[in-house]
């Protein structure tokens, strides 16, 4: 294929094939009964073809594109059996031929777009140079005892029947063993295995005001040995059950601005949404993005005791496996520990091989879900504090701050369900972090009170200035992040943070009545 394409008038300047072979296992149970285990094996490949040059190629953004930009991408299915070489070759041939023809057409449109539109603020090229990488990771087995785990899940889920409040529930085990293979025309050859296992416990009910109360807890591990015991899972089911029951009866937060402590996981998600997406490289040269931090390298963006690092090479923290770990990104570049904010000063961005003014080289953060184009994404985002206090002291500082501000109460945010943020220029560059429940902390010393229905909202530059203290306890949030290049596994780690002032709004809520009839059967 190379030889034929080299003879074309617009030959590719770079090509890559990224294949994923995956083996997924899914076990689930609810109400004390299990589903049949399911196993899913698939193989897919992305073929990337770049036409033009490193300075300008077909991947260049077409501004104000609308229907004009056919930047669609799709992955190709591959045979499950390695021995089917002819079929593999044929599938890749079709995909490469189509990708090349599309690339050639798009470059024509790119050139027109440049002629018609004004100059961009960042005139960086489209593709940085990168050395060849050759690496073959050691393959791992999932090694899940299916019968044993099905029994554990079945028994654990039966504990939800102890409640007359829980309407729906599940206890699940998802395990995936995948191998990414990347080859490029620069000679990169990578084989990158990964094992990821998650135990999930979920339950929901409907509060009397129609709000959906949903609690989800998960354990993430890179191997079966790291998974929790049956007793731990049953305890977690009980915790989730009791939390749902309490939340269903808890009062709803009023909109307010108040000091708050974000416990570790909440703080981690907060930073992922508010900072993490804004330091992704491609957003720095996209004129449709808000570019909150683009011109702030060297400036203070956070309090001087806070640093932020993204380190995909880290595998675990405090015994917890990190979801965002990888050795090489999806463009074949070795992952790099990247200091984004150093003691409050912005230093760098997360980059792929799409250069930006501040960071012309990739630092190994080019990622994608199969079937998408690569963009810079987070990996393991780590928030650290050089000055910390105990959590008990942090709580005392919260109460002091309440009194200083003359506020009746503040909050402790225990847990979140997720969040989102707008980074463009049309909608306000705001964020929303959705909490599961919050504790109201009274300045006058009354006992804490569980509340529900609160979203934390704000804008990044204002909110970061309000971080006043951090604890010495660090928590990990493992999850998946969805953005332009699809869903990728990530983690965020943070200490508990005291924030001088943050706004809480009421969460969106549903309006259906709880079930009209009592649940069948008595609680066991």
């Amino acid at each position: 294929m190379d030889a034929e394409l080299a003879e074309q008038a617009d030959p590719p300047h770079w090509m890559a094939i990224g294949a994923v072979a995956a083996d997924e296992l899914y076990l689930s149970a609810k109400n004390g009964v299990a589903n049949q285990p399911t196993r899913n094996r698939f193989r897919m490949a992305d073929v990337d073809v770049r036409v033009g040059s490193h300075e300008l190629d077909n991947t260049h953004k077409i501004r104000d594109a609308g229907w004009f930009d056919d930047g669609n991408k799709s992955a190709v299915n591959l045979p499950l059996d390695d021995a089917e070489e002819d079929a593999i070759r044929k599938a890749l041939w079709r995909a490469t031929d189509s990708a090349y023809r599309q690339a050639r057409k798009r470059l024509l449109k790119v050139k027109n777009n440049l002629a018609v539109k004004v100059e961009t603020e960042d005139e960086s090229g489209d593709f940085s140079h990168s050395p060849q990488s050759i690496h073959s990771g050691a393959s791992t087995e999932m090694d899940i005892d299916v019968d044993r785990w099905q029994s554990i899940l079945r028994t654990a889920s039966g504990r939800f029947l102890l409640s007359n409040v829980i309407e729906d529930n599940s206890v699940t085990l998802q395990a995936a063993q995948s191998t990414r293979t990347i080859v490029t025309t620069e000679g990169t050859r990578l084989t990158l295995p990964r094992t990821a296992i998650r135990i999930g416990v979920w339950a929901r009910t409907t509060a009397t005001d129609g709000m959906d109360i949903s609690v989800y807890e998960a354990f993430d591990a890179h191997s079966a040995e790291s998974l929790p015991s049956a007793e731990t899972i049953e305890s977690l089911v009980d915790e989730v059950r009791l939390r749902v029951e309490k939340l269903a009866k808890a009062p709803v937060v009023d909109p307010t601005v108040a000091p708050a402590i974000l416990r570790g996981r909440s703080a981690a998600v907060f930073f992922h949404e508010v900072l993490g997406h804004r330091i992704e490289g491609h957003r720095q040269k996209d004129d449709d993005e808000g570019q909150t931090f683009t011109d702030k390298v060297g400036e203070a963006v956070l309090p001087p005791f806070i640093s932020v690092i993204d380190d995909p090479t880290a595998q675990r923290i405090n015994g917890t496996d990190l979801n965002g770990h990888y050795t090489h990104d999806d463009e074949g570049v070795a992952a790099q520990r990247t200091v984004v904010v150093d003691r409050g000063i912005l230093r760098d961005f997360l980059t792929s091989r799409s250069p930006i003014k501040a960071t012309p080289q990739s630092n190994g953060h080019g990622r994608r879900q199969v079937g998408h184009a690569v963009v810079a994404r987070q990996g393991n985002l780590m928030i650290t504090a050089s000055k910390t206090v105990s959590y008990r002291q942090l709580r005392r500082m919260l109460v002091s701050e309440l009194k200083r501000q003359g506020k009746e109460y503040g909050f402790i945010v225990d847990d979140i369900t997720g969040g989102f943020t707008f980074t463009g220029r049309v909608t306000p560059n705001a964020f929303a972090v959705q909490t599961v429940g919050v504790q109201r902390v009274w300045a006058d010393g009354r006992p804490d009170e569980l509340m529900r229905g609160a979203d934390m909202i704000g804008t990044p530059l204002t909110t970061f200035n309000q971080i006043i203290a951090a604890s010495d306890q660090v928590a990990v949030f493992n999850g998946s992040c969805g953005a332009e290049s699809g869903w990728v596994p990530v983690s965020a780690t943070a200490p508990d943070l005291l924030i001088r002032e943050i706004e809480f709004q009421r969460s969106q809520k549903e309006h259906d009545r709880p079930p009209l009839l009592p649940p069948p059967g008595e609680a066991l």
């Binding site: 609810k30 299915n77 259906d512 009209l516 009839l517 069948p520």
Partner: protein, 560 residues
């Protein structure tokens, strides 16, 4: 994302009595207890528990790309509030308002309590949705004169059918078949792509109603589809397909026959490489089997299915929103002397055979077209003004209402002639139309494999036209034939069949899959749908219009 996806562990045994007992108990609780203040209460509930086993295998370029097998369970509840003359059924409220149909996925393992909890949640959600749709319908009819048709046809008596164990599908056997066909399909060098897909389903659906119907309805069918792609000399993409539908893998044709059919399909593509494009044709067309089965199925399905469209809320133009059925009793659809009947019970060997429909109503023969005129229609329990009984033809997928759809249809002409004479008749008419040849259509693309996104924006109306022909040739008076390509039909509708000028005897049934809702062809996936069969003659239609186009983008890289 497709992959190798299989269920591990032993197949679960089903306790039908437990299912029936628990369902009855929870339905009783729902009927007695589901009440919202000052709102309509349930007058009818249907619970459908579908349980079965499936296998599916896909291959591309001769190699398997996905394979899955395992049990499948689904719970669907349908709550009607009001009464049978006026309830929430057959009305489409504005988007976002739920209706009275809800589904949940029960666990594969069974316990009374777990299953009853699924019913509890589903019935609760369905009841709430039903009252909302009922209120929207009341509002829509406020101040309007009828008459309006009732909403649920009565049954003569409840149906009780015991459970019969279904077979377990065999993924390995299916994979072997797919491999054999895929290898054959991938072999020819002139092809740039080939794909095989096969699906096998065997199961039973428990239909229980508040009228005391308690019926286990078995369903079983196997589908195999092959697709081959090549390029013409001008770069146009050439595509041909083959499909087989049967009650089970054992009832598929002999694999050697299937391979031969695949070889014929690929040979046809080779012949099309240098074939001319038929740019514009107006004249008679000889439609041979199996294309004739597709022709009749696509044109007649909406004409003989009696279910009226949904009722909608009136828009600002104050239009009459009473739904008018597409099928019209008294309309001439075929030449004089032609008869068409549908009897789902006629041939037990076919996948389309059944004794009771998805509402538990016994299926019966319907003599739909008599002497070329529509005299009767297929019915589900959705009423229409001129019919008072279901004929046991109610089926649908997902959360859609049960509508009448064909099952085992036979089209019988009055006068027949052998193919050779039909060809002479066609050529004579072609000459009168100023053509040197007549077009012969041997195959049409089945809707399940159509690559066109087609949706009837007229609501529930049928789609105009036919799917494109995949095998067409010119027939010259001296007997010479010449394949042509690039064609699409233009302006085909119910009137086309009145132009039939010659017919053969009725061929054996062609088994296919079809969707209950005719308004969206894309809704039918390649391995989905409901089995149907059509036994039809080959026909010469006096005048049809086809237009063709070609041109495409050649590959840049040579095939490996």
């Amino acid at each position: 994302m497709i992959g190798l996806f299989f269920m591990m562990g032993v197949a679960l045994s089903l306790d039908p009595v437990a299912h029936e007992t628990v369902t009855k108990a929870e339905m009783k609780r729902a009927l007695e207890g589901l009440k919202l203040p000052n709102q309509a209460v349930p007058h009818h509930i249907t619970v459908t528990v579908s349980t079965g086993h499936f296998s599916s295998v896909r291959a591309q370029d001769g190699a398997v790309t996905s394979s899955q097998s395992g049990p499948s369970r689904d719970l669907r509840v349908d709550v009607r509030v009001g009464d049978s003359d006026f309830d929430n059924g057959n009305f489409r409220p504005s988007m976002g308002i739920p209706d009275g149909v809800f589904s949940r996925r029960p666990a594969d393992e069974y316990s009374d309590l777990s299953f009853q909890r699924e019913l509890w949640l589903a019935l609760d959600a369905a009841y709430k949705g039903a009252t909302q749709t009922y209120a929207a319908k009341e509002a829509a009819r406020e101040g309007r004169d009828g008459p309006f048709a009732p909403d649920l046809l009565p049954i003569q008596s409840p149906t009780v059918l015991p459970y019969r164990a279904h077979r377990i599908t065999d993924e390995t056997k299916l994979k072997t078949l797919v491999r054999q066909l895929a290898t054959q399909a991938a072999a020819p060098e002139h092809l740039e792509d080939s794909a095989l897909a096969a699906g096998d389903w065997a199961g039973s659906g428990l239909v229980m109603t508040s009228e005391d119907t308690s019926a286990w309805i078995p369903t079983t069918f196997t589908i195999v589809r092959a697709e081959m792609i090549a390029r013409a000399n001008d770069g146009s993409r050439l595509r041909n397909t083959r499909s087989w539908v049967a009650a089970s893998p054992d009832k598929l044709p002999n694999v050697d026959d299937m391979i031969e059919s695949v070889n014929e399909a690929t040979a046809w593509l080779k012949a099309l490489h240098d074939a001319p494009i038929e740019e514009d044709y107006l004249g008679p067309v000889l439609v041979e089997a199996p294309a004739a089965a597709e022709l009749f199925r696509q044109v007649l399905h909406p004409e003989i299915s009696g279910t009226p469209p949904w009722e909608y809320a009136p828009d600002s133009s104050d239009s009459d929103t009473r739904p008018i059925p597409v099928s019209r009793i008294g309309r001439r659809l075929l030449p004089a002397g032609w008869n068409v009947w549908d009897d789902p019970t006629e041939n037990p060997q076919l996948a389309s055979h059944y004794t009771h429909d998805y509402e538990g109503v016994p299926a019966r023969r319907v003599d739909a077209i008599q002497d070329g005129v529509l005299r009767d229609v297929l019915m589900s329990r959705v009423p229409r003004a001129d019919r008072t009984q279901s004929t046991g033809h109610g089926r649908s997928s997902g959360l859609n209402r049960r509508v009448a759809m064909p099952a085992q249809v036979t089209v019988k002409p009055k006068k027949t002639m052998p193919l050779s004479r039909m060809q002479r008749v066609a050529l004579r008419h072609a000459k009168s139309a100023g053509n040197d040849y007549v077009l012969v259509v041997r195959r049409l693309v089945p809707p399940a494999l159509s690559e066109d996104f087609e949706f009837a924006f007229t609501g529930d109306g049928p789609l105009a036209g036919l799917t494109p022909p995949s095998e067409v040739h010119r027939l010259y008076p001296d007997g010479r034939t010449e394949p042509v390509r690039g064609l699409r039909f233009s302006g085909v509708d119910r009137r086309s069949l009145r132009d039939i000028i010659a017919a053969s005897t009725t061929h054996e049934s062609v088994e296919m899959t079809d969707s209950a809702e005719q308004s969206a062809r894309f809704s039918l996936s390649d391995l989905g749908g409901h089995p149907v069969s059509w036994a039809v003659p080959s026909v010469v239609i006096g005048e049809m219009e086809l237009r063709g186009a070609g041109g495409g983008e050649a590959r840049v890289i040579s095939a490996p």
